[in-house]
Amino acid sequence: MELTLAISSSPIIGLNHYLVLAAFIFVCGLLSMMLKRNAIGILMGVELILNAANINLVAFNRFSYAYSPDHKPMLDGQVFAIFVIVLAAAEAAVALAIFLNYYNNFNTIDVERAQTLKG
């Protein structure tokens, strides 16, 4: 009973809940990108941002609950999320390869040192 009381103010979880959560994760990802000096930390920030976007996609897909004229469920949001996940994996692989090269050249993973191209 206590449990239900604690959450009784909004018993129905709607779209907005997911969107706010996604916004929060998005902001966290941004913060990681801005504050981490470790290149891999930045990569993790990017992953967080992608996850936030994915939550949005899936939530919108779920709550719009559209059906095509021939009564098939429209799963565009989920499909997009799958593509995002797949491409995120690809991105991580390339990024890590770049980081390894970077580490071999600079002997560090600190992105602050990657300034040799600055104007």
Binding site: A23, A81, A89, A92, F99, N104, I109
Partner: protein, 201 residues
């Protein structure tokens, strides 16, 4: 999740269990996302990221997309995250390496992010998305997802596979290109390896 709900709470009314589960998973992912930001040890950051990803997978479950949840776990946790941890292990100079940002940067970044978050929340609250009423009796079968992927989205699907192939080759090439450097670089690499070993021991 209905059957789990039936085991867990048997006759609790229909909305409460999803709400509890939502707050559980949302709490896990939000807290560990914050952990990603705050943690200074890169490996702990990765662990926090793991929990975020698992929490998001739980949220996918709540959103009736189990397949996506499984994909999230397999690809993200089983693949991407392991790659990241692998990268961490290969690149950190000491086991618990940390680089600190400057205080000014921290202030600016946090301020920007608070503004951004506030703006986003305001936007979400003021927007009217008109969500449909949920039809929880209906579930999306995986079949429909497969048909969508190999039907309407066939071209992006194939393109994604091509991208993956290119990435595989490209990443292998990038990671291997070191071998064609001069011997000095190889010697330096060996030196760093031995240094690393000394530091760890």
């Amino acid at each position: 999740m209905n059957s789990i709900a039936s085991i867990l709470a048997l006759s609790v009314d229909a909305q409460t269990v999803p709400a509890v589960l939502f707050y559980l998973f949302a709490g896990i992912s939000a807290a560990s996302a914050l952990g990603v930001v705050l943690s200074r040890n890169i490996v702990r950051t990765a662990v926090c990221l793991l929990f975020t990803l698992v929490g998001v997978a739980g949220l996918y479950f709540l959103l009736e997309s189990e397949f996506l949840a499984a994909v999230q776990l397999v690809v993200y946790v089983g693949g991407t995250l392991i790659l990241i941890v692998f990268g961490v292990m290969l690149t950190s100079k000491s086991p618990f390496s940390r680089f600190e940002p400057k205080a000014g940067e921290v202030v600016v970044a946090i301020a920007a992010c608070i503004i951004l978050f506030a703006a986003l929340v305001m936007a979400i609250r003021s927007a009217d998305f008109r969500p449909q009423t949920l039809d929880t009796t209906q579930k999306y079968p995986v079949v429909a997802l497969g048909q969508a992927l190999l039907g309407d989205y066939l071209v992006p699907f194939e393109l994604a596979s091509v991208v993956l192939l290119v990435v595989m080759i490209g990443a292998a090439y990038l990671a291997k290109s070191r071998k064609r450097d001069d011997k000095r670089a190889v010697a330096r690499g060996a030196a760093t390896l031995s240094q690393k070993a000394r530091q760890w021991s």
